[in-house]
Amino acid sequence: MQAFLESIENSGFATYIRETPSVLGYSTVLALHTFGMAFLVGLSGVIALRVLGVVPELPLKPLKSLMPIVIIGFWVNAITGVILTSLAIVSLSRNWDFYVKLASIVVAIVALTKMRRYAFDDPNARDDAPASPEAKRWAKTMLFFWGLAVLGGRLTAYATYIRIQSAEAVVVAIVLLLILARYLVRRSHRRPAVVHRTSPVEARG
């Protein structure tokens, strides 16, 4: 197995992408991987926000038209991801963080497919109606695992103890930001209390 992985890592293609001084090698593949991530996660995230009722003004059904771009984003990510993996496959195969990333992507894709089915497949649903509880559950699952996949992707380059510390720091930062966001949303929704004074005569009708 080890010899097979080494043969991939030392192949002419992997060596060229890794070692070429041209910016069209490693860095461009990495940039394409980021483009794919931005469209895949960004646009599926827009659908999830609508499903969760965060942006209720958006009609639900037309968002289905975003799916082809989401799918293109996925394939750009998949192809560039395979190329990037081949460049350092020996060390990545021993990196537990890499497996967390892959597992998170699989769960996020399953959640995206389920969310899409529950959100769009009812032809009688009104555009301004809230999404079903199943669609909301899968939207939350998808967002969580996209976040985990992005985190996993960022941390593969670091030593294990830095990965653990960084993951803890990200979790703490996200929890603090969510608490702050919840406070701000509640504060913006709070209306000034209106006191209606009625005389005893008015109150009796």
Partner: protein, 169 residues
């Protein structure tokens, strides 16, 4: 001017913090990526609608996503400033020298500026008011489409040149 920039860009306390706490740099990187996702989800989605993607969405509703894009941009600015001002934690150069010598970082700044000018054009030409009236199925004016293409091009350029920065270090 050079002395001013050299002094102003150097933040030893931030560099020391990042050198001391090894989780700080990956934390910044992770949030930089979350910011990119929000930016494309908000601003990119708006541009795509102007170009005719998901045409059944009224533009005024898609506009509600723009604050998410702006939030993403601000997250990228804060984390990006952290990377630049604390660059000494990773390479033995001052931020001023890195900015002066790294063409990819310079290109990134140029493209951020061009994206800003493009946004200004969107408002100065009155396109912001015109597209707000676009209901389901309506096409955006040609000028709004040109601005949307330019916006996508500049933001993707910002991401691309950002990825090339390590090549110039």
């Amino acid at each position: 001017m050079e002395h001013f920039l050299r002094t102003w860009l150097e933040w030893p306390s931030v560099a020391a913090f990042i050198a001391r706490y090894t989780w700080a740099w990956p934390l910044g990187e992770t949030f930089h990526f979350f910011g990119i996702i929000l930016l494309i989800g908000g601003v990119g989605m708006f541009d795509l609608r102007l170009l005719g993607v998901a045409k059944q969405l009224p533009v005024s509703a898609v506009r509600r996503l723009l604050p998410w894009g702006v939030t993403g941009f601000l997250i990228c600015v804060v984390t990006g400033l952290m990377f630049v001002t604390a660059v000494r934690a990773n390479v033995p150069s001052s931020p001023y020298d890195v900015i002066k010598s790294n063409p990819w970082l310079q290109m990134k700044f140029v493209f951020i500026g061009l994206a800003g000018v493009n946004l200004l054009a969107f408002y100065v030409t009155g396109m912001n008011r015109k597209v707000d009236e676009l209901g389901p199925g309506a096409s955006a004016p040609a000028l709004a489409k040109v601005i949307a293409v330019a916006s996508l091009f500049f933001w993707l350029g910002v991401i691309y040149f950002g990825r090339l920065i390590p090549e110039g270090l």
